[in-house]
């Protein structure tokens, strides 16, 4: 039987399948359906230093093979998370990655420092949320990203991942690596929009929203493939992964692990089914560990 375990940027995972930030809450909801500790890890909803109420509705809009969301980082704030959610998550045996967002490098630093002082297992710095600021996210700019990662790294001894936007390019990823990130996760949602032809107005109050789901998979896969070739730190693949075949494509492209987001909405069991599917694949193909296939598609 294949060994499903993997170490990703300093974080030990029992398998490479992670619930993606913002699609799995803090693991409590899906825990009524299956044991989230069966996943490699759960990445929390994006956290901020202070609570955030998020964007006004509507927050969701379906597109062809995709989903636009404009949640706007609604979250209870880091203190409430550490007090009310984290102990339960740890008690359930969940490996906890905290996704964190800040208004500026200083806020990132304070948030990361506070989380580092808790029992979370790793921190994913979100420089890629399309729903909280007009214009592109910080992660589309190498200089601003550098400041965020540098200051976060200084106060953090835990595994530190940087979650990239699809439009950041290799320069931003390299910057994250140089500033000491242990891994990058790619990608966050794509900036998209929809117009309600009945009113002639944008569907979302913020106009722009984040596109996720199967629609984005080919682009996300290409980005992950390019990142894996360009970086020495591990890449966590995200974007439209719906079944174990999709997950395998990302691993073959070079990803150390994958995150499953929108697919949880399509099938609440999607993430555990991917774990099972990969396990079966390993067995049937006599693959003993991920080294055997990771990055095989690279030239």
């Amino acid at each position: 039987m294949g060994d499903m375990r993997v170490v990703v940027g300093g974080l030990r995972l029992r398998n490479p399948v992670i619930a993606a930030s913002g699609t799995f809450g803090f693991g409590a909801e899906y825990a009524e359906i299956y044991d989230p500790a069966r996943l490699g890890a759960v990445c929390t909803k994006g956290l901020t230093l202070m609570p955030r109420q998020g964007n006004p509705p509507p927050r969701l809009w379906e597109t062809a093979g995709g989903l636009l969301n404009s949640i706007g980082l609604q979250n209870p704030g880091i203190e409430a998370f550490i007090r009310e959610e984290l102990p339960r998550m740890k008690a359930q045996g969940i490996t906890v990655i905290t996704n964190v967002w800040g208004n500026d490098p200083g806020e990132y630093e304070r948030s990361v420092a506070r989380l580092c002082d808790s029992s979370v297992d790793a921190i994913e710095i979100n420089v890629s949320c399309p729903n909280v600021s007009r214009g592109g996210p910080v992660g589309e700019d190498a200089i601003r990203t550098a400041a965020v990662v540098r200051r976060s790294r200084k106060v953090c001894t835990l595994p530190l991942w940087v979650k990239l936007p699809p439009a950041g390019g290799l320069a931003v990823a390299r910057t994250a690596q140089e500033e000491g990130a242990d891994a990058v996760s790619a990608v966050n949602t794509f900036r998209g929009m929809a117009i309600d032809i009945k009113t002639g107005k944008p569907v979302f109050v913020n106009v722009v929203a984040g596109l996720s789901g199967p629609a984005i998979k080919p682009i996300a896969l290409r980005i992950v493939y390019e990142l894996a070739a360009a970086l020495t730190i591990p890449v966590v693949g995200i974007g439209g992964i719906g079944d174990w075949r999709d997950a395998l494509e990302f691993i073959m492209a070079g990803a150390h692990a994958v995150q499953v987001g929108t697919a949880n909405f399509v099938d609440p069991l999607a993430a555990v089914k991917i774990v099972a599917g990969l396990e079966k694949y390993m067995e049937e193909n006599k693959i003993t560990d991920w080294e055997g296939i990771r990055g095989n598609a690279q030239q």
Partner: protein
């Protein structure tokens, strides 16, 4: 609060047109739900991407049923199901109506009558006020489970002409449970609060996860944004921000 959520492949027992564009879907099997709870349904692969929320219309030894209007592609695909077809369902979801003693009024407008049938069965002795756009349907069925049934319709067909708010008087009720398009709920809120009768409304929002994880189905309440799928769909009317 919600107990264990089941993800099941259910078998269609029947799927019958009960009025123009309105269908009653019965699924075989052993399910659970409280009145006002809902399930996420899907009978398609990836188009539409998301499942569709439907309130529990009824639940008995044979299975579970849903009453739905054909709106767009999702409900259109549901309407094509035949006995024996498989369909994916996840639930029960949401909180459901609280159990209150005394005289209960169930008020529904349009497809808002869907969750009231099961409620009438469980909260026995309730009165049902049903508002239809045109020709009423399932009135006899409601008459079997509710103490009294009052019917209105926009056209006057089969009942009093007008809105259900024209014939519903909250006086004498200990609580009112309502489901309908939002403008009617807002009107009910004014009527009930004037009469001092506690009102519990069932709200709707577009949903992705249906279980409370994505924060996509937010509605504004006095406590800030709440999730229709998990904090609701039933809310004390007094906590809903009716104008925004």
């Amino acid at each position: 609060m919600a107990g264990k959520i089941e993800v099941a492949a259910a078998q269609v027992a029947s799927n019958v047109r009960v009025a123009e564009g309105i269908f009653l879907l019965k699924l075989r099997g052993d399910y659970s739900a409280a009145p006002g709870q809902f399930y996420m349904l899907r009978a398609w692969d990836r188009n539409p991407l998301l499942s569709r929320p439907l309130s529990v219309f009824n639940l008995d030894g044979d299975g579970i049923s849903f009453l739905y209007a054909v709106r767009g592609r999702g409900t259109g695909l549901l309407s094509r199901l035949s006995p024996g077809n498989e369909i994916g369902i996840t639930g029960p979801l949401g909180n459901g109506w609280p159990r209150r003693d005394g005289r209960i009024a169930l008020v529904g407008g349009g497809l808002g009558i869907a969750p009231l049938f099961y409620a009438a069965g469980v909260f026995s002795g309730s009165d049902a006020y049903l508002g239809y756009p045109d020709e009423p349907y399932l009135v006899d069925e409601f008459a079997r489970v509710a103490a009294r049934v009052m019917v209105s319709s926009d056209t006057g067909a089969g009942g009093t002409k007008g809105f259900i708010t024209d014939i519903f008087d909250p006086d004498g009720y200990d609580a009112c449970y309502a489901c309908s398009p939002r403008p009617m709920l807002a009107a009910l809120d004014r009527i009930c609060s004037r009469a001092g009768v506690p009102l519990f409304v069932s709200l709707e929002e577009r949903m992705a996860c249906g279980v409370g994880a994505c924060l996509g189905c937010a509605v504004r309440t006095v406590h800030g944004y709440a999730r229709v799928c998990r904090d609701g769909p039933i809310f004390p009317s007094s906590e809903v921000m009716w104008n925004g």
